[in-house]
């Protein structure tokens, strides 16, 4: 097995895992804006837990996609063109979601807020679903021809695996979002988030577990089966920690669940990065889809320097904003008077 393509396969799996771990909870919090928050103060508490970090989290997606382009151009080209319409939906969702975060508080009317709240919740749902479907399909296969292009029309990608992956990431994101809220908020929201976490975890993590198991059935190896076991144990631990009120430990255990889950999925898929369901000979692998060793070597140096830095300053951000947010922290909406008036009262000294 060639070393550099293997390293980059692991790197891309790590980038996706980092994306799911970090953006996972802000996608979850986004969906909870509609599912969980009861009033505008709740919603502002939710938003301000992820406010300083969501944009940095989203860059993990851009980096995962960019690294795939650089390290495995054929994987990037085939996957993204085959999933043209689903990825269009993801883009639309991410556009609305990003703009909504920034614009929601800029006009102080109920209608304005309700509209953007919907954009955040629906955008988070669609983005999570689309990313999940994309990742599931890259591990279970697409109808690709010898050139790596999709056969069978715009919806040829549709399969049970697409739905399974979609629900897997949506379910995980909601649970992860609840764990994050229990950790980052105080007061009633914190306790309710913990209760919801305990109640929903067993159901909402099932799709991800099912996806991991189905990839094992296709191409599992002993160690990846082991990772599935670790994931299940971590999920049970997360659940029991939350029941006992250890929010930090529950969050960490859920993180272990994710890492073990994605490791089992990517590990079982290796060395295939994108199977062809038409003919196994057309499948893209770490060898036939990768860039030259020169490019991979260059990218390895850049990543070896860049990624630890990113982790360091992103960790610092979480440290800076480590305090819990509660309803009592939320100031009144700032509704300002325009600086122009029909008649200005000029003040004479």
């Amino acid at each position: 097995m060639e070393l550099l393509p293997t390293i980059w396969f692991v790197a891309i799996a790590l980038l996706w895992t980092g994306y799911l771990f970090l953006e996972g909870f802000d996608l979850g919090v986004g969906m909870l804006m509609k599912l969980f928050a009861r009033n505008n103060t709740d919603r502002r508490v939710l938003l301000n837990t992820i406010g300083p970090v969501w944009d940095g989290n989203e860059v993990w997606l851009l980096t995962a996609a960019g690294a795939t382009f650089a390290a495995f151009p054929l994987w990037y080209a085939s996957l993204f063109s085959a999933l043209y319409l689903p990825l269009l939906l993801v883009l639309v969702a991410l556009i609305f979601r990003a703009v909504a975060f920034e614009y929601r508080g800029k006009v102080d009317t109920e209608r304005w807020r309700t509209g953007w709240d919907l954009a955040i919740a629906a955008g988070s749902f669609v983005a999570a679903f689309g990313v999940g479907a994309t990742l599931a399909l890259t591990t279970t296969g697409l109808p690709l021809n010898a050139n790596g292009d999709r056969e069978g029309g715009p919806f040829a990608w549709f399969s049970g695996y697409a739905l399974l992956g979609g629900f897997a990431v949506v379910g995980f994101a909601i649970v992860h979002g609840l764990a994050f809220l229990a950790l980052k908020t105080d007061g009633e929201v914190r306790h309710r988030a913990r209760r919801w976490f305990v109640r929903l975890l067993p159901v909402l993590l099932l799709p991800l577990a099912a996806w991991a198991v189905s990839v094992q059935l296709l191409s599992g190896e002993p160690w990846t089966w082991g990772a599935v076991v670790v994931a299940v144990v971590a999920a049970v631990l997360a659940w029991s920690f939350a029941r006992r009120g250890s929010e930090g430990k529950a969050f960490l255990a859920l993180g272990v669940f994710l890492v073990a889950g994605t490791a089992s999925i990517f590990g079982a898929a290796f060395p295939v990065v994108l199977p062809s369901t038409i003919n196994p000979d057309f499948s893209l692998t770490v060898i036939n889809a990768s860039s030259s060793d020169y490019t991979l070597g260059l990218m390895s140096i850049v990543a070896a320097i860049g990624l630890p830095l990113v982790l360091a300053y992103q960790a610092w951000t979480y440290w800076v904003f480590r305090r819990r947010v509660s309803a009592s922290h939320i100031p009144e909406a700032h509704s300002f008077l325009p600086a122009i008036a029909a008649k200005a009262m000029v003040i004479k000294d």
Binding site: G51, G56, G66, Y76, Y84, F96, G306, V310, T317, A339
Partner: protein, 540 residues
């Protein structure tokens, strides 16, 4: 329209749109960082207000750049998969580096800046903004390295029919990129300069119109204050300083774009002679620069074009730095291109229905000719207007004329137009190539790609049309929303970005007697009795 044409329209529309937000982000980011630095150094409250006000507009615009930027990265794989397969070994690296080394920095440190006003020490908070702004400049560098490789491929060898990177240093110090980066940064500053100038002009005009500022017998301004949040004495100084900063930035950046643009032009005459001939709508070899050419410049038939006003020698100067060298026109370039790269597209299924068609080596000259002139014209107009504005405001306020105020506000659009025209010119002028051949005899002549071969073979025209319609509609709606929000916050003045001003701390302030220096960091100055000690600046 077939898939290729729809994909091209989509790329054009989404890129031009994205590049309305980007230059304002880069330019305004730099300017706001300078403002906050001035506040940090001097403690003068007008600089804090400028930071807050322009920072608010910066953020309203920034998010649109973020949102539309994701489309750009996904689009290569979605709509241009053959292109991605062909160039991935060399083109993917700068894109990945842009995300890893620039976007992470930009987004993370901007988050710290937005929410960290009360949480971070003033110097650290300021440093976060500078780091974010430097990140945005780096992102410009990486994406221009990628684009420059399409204009002038270097640092690769053809292996198994694909360019493979062999010399990263050559790719990342491509001379095309080294001049395009400063050109783009200056272009971004020009946008920020006109933005400051137009909006500050509006507020100064409004203060006069509302009778707050008056003009003494010597013509000098007498600043006043009014019973409106934010409209105090300091407010006058906010706007006149902003206006002057804007005007100076606009003028310097035009000089910068002209100098770097000249270097780019000289490179381009060597690297893509057909693009520059098309920029001139020059059919025959010559030395003259066309000020006005009439006839159908879009025609492929050169006899339709007559240069009405032509300045002798200038074209040679633009191309070579002297006034006598003959610059090749379309008529002599065309046979050279045909001899080197063929007269017809190969009979390869990758070209779809276009296989075997004749290759149009001459770009759409209406676009290149006018794009080139709009870029220079809009940029020059903005710089000249900035000079006039400095003179017109020498007494500390703007003329009372409503018409001039409107002109200053509409002038904001000029550098946007120049930026868009410049990119449309350089991208359309590269056609029919998506990767233009490097004509240097020692270079890598076989590395080129026709745009006709780049589109995703597996994606249908219907899918592309769907995404074009969806994205264009969303972009149109969001542009309306963004502009409405910008207008709302602009009209609100500084108080719109500083709630504390709206809470009655506006009267009787003299410039300088404000205690909101960086040491105090404004942490408990929100004027609300019993307000909790906020842990965040609560942007949301």
């Amino acid at each position: 329209m077939d898939a290729l044409e729809i994909a091209r329209w989509q790329f054009g529309i989404t890129t031009v749109y994205h590049f309305m937000m980007v230059p304002l982000t880069i330019g305004l980011g730099l300017v706001v960082a300078v403002m906050q630095t001035l506040w940090h150094r001097t403690g003068k409250t007008e600089y804090l207000r400028m930071t807050k006000f322009w920072g608010k507009l910066f953020l309203i615009n920034f998010i649109m750049g973020v949102a539309t930027g994701i489309v750009q990265e996904f689009q290569f794989g979605m709509a241009w998969s053959e292109y991605s397969r062909f160039v991935g070994d060399v083109f993917g690296a700068p894109l990945a580096m842009e995300a890893l080394l620039a976007f992470f920095v930009e987004s993370t440190f901007l988050g710290l800046w937005i929410f960290g006003w009360k949480q971070l020490k003033p110097a650290v908070h300021l440093a976060c903004l500078w780091i974010a702004v430097v990140g945005s400049v780096f992102s410009a560098y990486f994406i221009i390295v990628a684009n420059s490789w399409m204009q002038h491929p270097v640092g690769v060898e053809m292996i198994n029919g694909r360019p493979v990177m062999t010399d990263a240093w050559a790719v990342f110090t491509n001379n095309t990129a080294l001049v395009a980066v400063p050109h783009t940064i200056f272009g971004a500053l020009a946008v920020a300069g006109a933005f400051l100038l137009g909006i500050a002009w509006y507020h100064l005009w409004r203060r006069r119109h509302d009778g707050i500022d008056t003009v003494g017998p010597d013509g000098k301004v007498i600043p006043g204050q009014a019973d409106i949040p934010g409209r105090d004495l300091t407010d006058h100084s906010v706007w006149i300083r902003s206006l002057r900063i804007g005007a100076v930035v606009a003028m310097i950046s035009f000089a910068g774009t002209a100098l770097t643009g000249d270097l780019q032009g000289k490179l381009m005459f060597e690297q893509q002679p057909m693009k520059m001939a098309a920029a001139e709508a020059a059919c025959h070899d010559g030395t003259g620069f066309s000020v006005l050419s009439v006839g159908n410049v879009g025609s492929q038939n050169c006899d339709d074009i007559v240069a009405v006003i032509e300045v002798p020698g200038i074209l040679s100067f633009l191309a070579k730095g002297d006034f006598t060298t003959e610059v090749k026109g379309v008529n002599s370039l065309l046979p050279e291109y045909q001899a080197k790269y063929g007269t017809n597209l190969p009979d390869n299924p990758i070209y779809g229905d276009r296989a075997g068609q004749e290759i149009e080596y001459v770009p759409v000259m209406e676009v290149t000719y006018w794009g080139f002139r709009m870029m220079i014209g809009f940029g020059g107009m903005a710089a000249f207007a900035a000079l006039l504005a400095l003179w017109a405001t020498r007494n500390g306020t703007v003329p009372a004329s409503r018409g001039l105020m409107r002109l200053a506000v509409f002038g904001i659009l000029a550098p946007f137009g120049a930026n868009a025209a410049g990119w449309i010119f350089t991208e359309m002028g590269r056609q029919p190539f998506v990767v233009a051949p490097n004509p240097d005899p020692s270079g890598i002549d076989q590395v080129f790609m026709f745009t006709a071969a780049a589109v995703s073979p597996g994606v249908s025209a219907g899918e592309l049309l769907t995404s074009l319609v969806v994205l264009a509609s969303i972009y149109a709606v969001l542009l309306v929303v963004e502009v409405k929000l910008l207008v709302k916050y602009i009209r609100g003045g500084v108080a719109s970005a500083m709630p504390e001003l709206a809470h009655g701390r506006t009267r009787g302030q003299e410039p300088g007697d404000d205690d909101e220096g960086p040491g105090a960091s404004g942490s408990t100055k929100d004027g609300r009795p019993g307000a909790p000690d906020d842990v965040l600046a609560f942007a949301y």
